[in-house]
Amino acid sequence: MGYYDIDDILADGTRFPCRFNYDVPGLGYLEGNPGRPISKNAKLELPLWMVHLLAVVGAQSNEDSRVEEPLPFVELLPPDLFAPRVLNAIKSGATSLDLHSISPHFYTLAEKWATLFSDKELSQVLKDMLLERGQEINNHAISVSMFSNCNQTNDSAVFLQTLDEFEKTIYRDTNVNCKEMKKWLVLK
């Protein structure tokens, strides 16, 4: 994930629910009413690139900053993306899941989330899901026909709709490679 990676930038724009731990004056425009202070316990949806710093950095309290870790500005609430409902759906059948409708950047977000909270369970689920879905992607990608470009079977078209952006790049790479290979073998 580089600095200039477009998919990464897009993924970072996804909004996450969070709650403010402080009264902050002047930040009302995050809520949609500029000029007003933001109140404690206000619930907001903020993009990930903003949240992931705010959830780590705390306010500088002069009195007892050394005694305990400062409370961060915002607290991240568990998002719908990684609700137990979704994780159960993944565990029960990863290949039949419509990942694209959950989030087009599911893997990137999940990776960031797991890094942020060192979530072992989530990363395990992700790993299993990637393996399981990877086999399915491979199955669809290697079944290419040489002479007509657009006779994807209905099955495979439906499956492709459910891929997230990361899986789409995998699918595209595999598919192009298989196609080129076949072309070379048949036509020279």
Binding site: G2, Y3, Y4, W49, H52, L53
Partner: protein, 292 residues
Amino acid sequence: MSIDIDDILAELDRDTTAVEQNASSYPDQSDRTQGNDVSQIRPADKVVDPVVPMQFNKIDDYQRLVTHWKNERMSPELLPYPHHLMTRTLIRIQERIELIETLSMGYLEDNQELTVDSKLPLLCMEAELERLKFLVRSFIRCRLSKIDKYSIYLRQQSELPNNAGLSRLDLLMSKEEVKYHMKHSDILLKLFNNAILKHLPEELQAVNDTEGSISMIDEPDWNKTVFILVCGGVVDESGVDSKLTTDDDGKPCYSVIIEDLNEEIYLLIGAVYVIRYSVIRDLMTEGRVVLI
């Protein structure tokens, strides 16, 4: 009772190959002088000669170039530039071109010798030359694309004072590549500066900021998975490979440790593995392992 005479036979074999090697070096020599007779760049050639010892075999050099090319194509980082090898190759290409030119001029003069038979060697020479040129071009293009990708990283590495020995730009890259690297990053920087950066607050104007939420310097992905072929066959002065060990079955192999997982694995000679680049980086630079 059988007497094992393999070592005696091997001695005899070695003698004969030595003679053959001598003999085979003659055409090489004559080839060179012939090439030099027709070439006008003899002085330049002489300058290079002391740097480049002449005992290098053409075929070996070609194999080495192919290995360098493959490694460069598959590895995530920019590998050190093979200075001597490339100098030799470029000189040979130059000589070949001139040889072909003189030969084809000879054909033009006396027409009675022009038969299909006598044309074949010329055809082969040209085809071979094209192959070699393709290899060199592809190699250099691949390096240039990596230089583009990691230009800020390379610049930062070369400015670090502590590892001046290993990552000096002129060791890592050829003269032309250093020139390209410097100029290209200057042009890119100018574009960024004029288009966007000059409108930003001063503390946000750097393009090599690592303090922010995301590091702006793209480092090579050291943990990229690569396919490798374990070829072994590198021996040091004592005639044995110091890194070679044996696995549980007694087969020769290298043992490497994946640090993140704290797992030791044996790489058998002649086998193909998919493995992290960072693990086999040292083995690859020593030529014990080839990327495929």
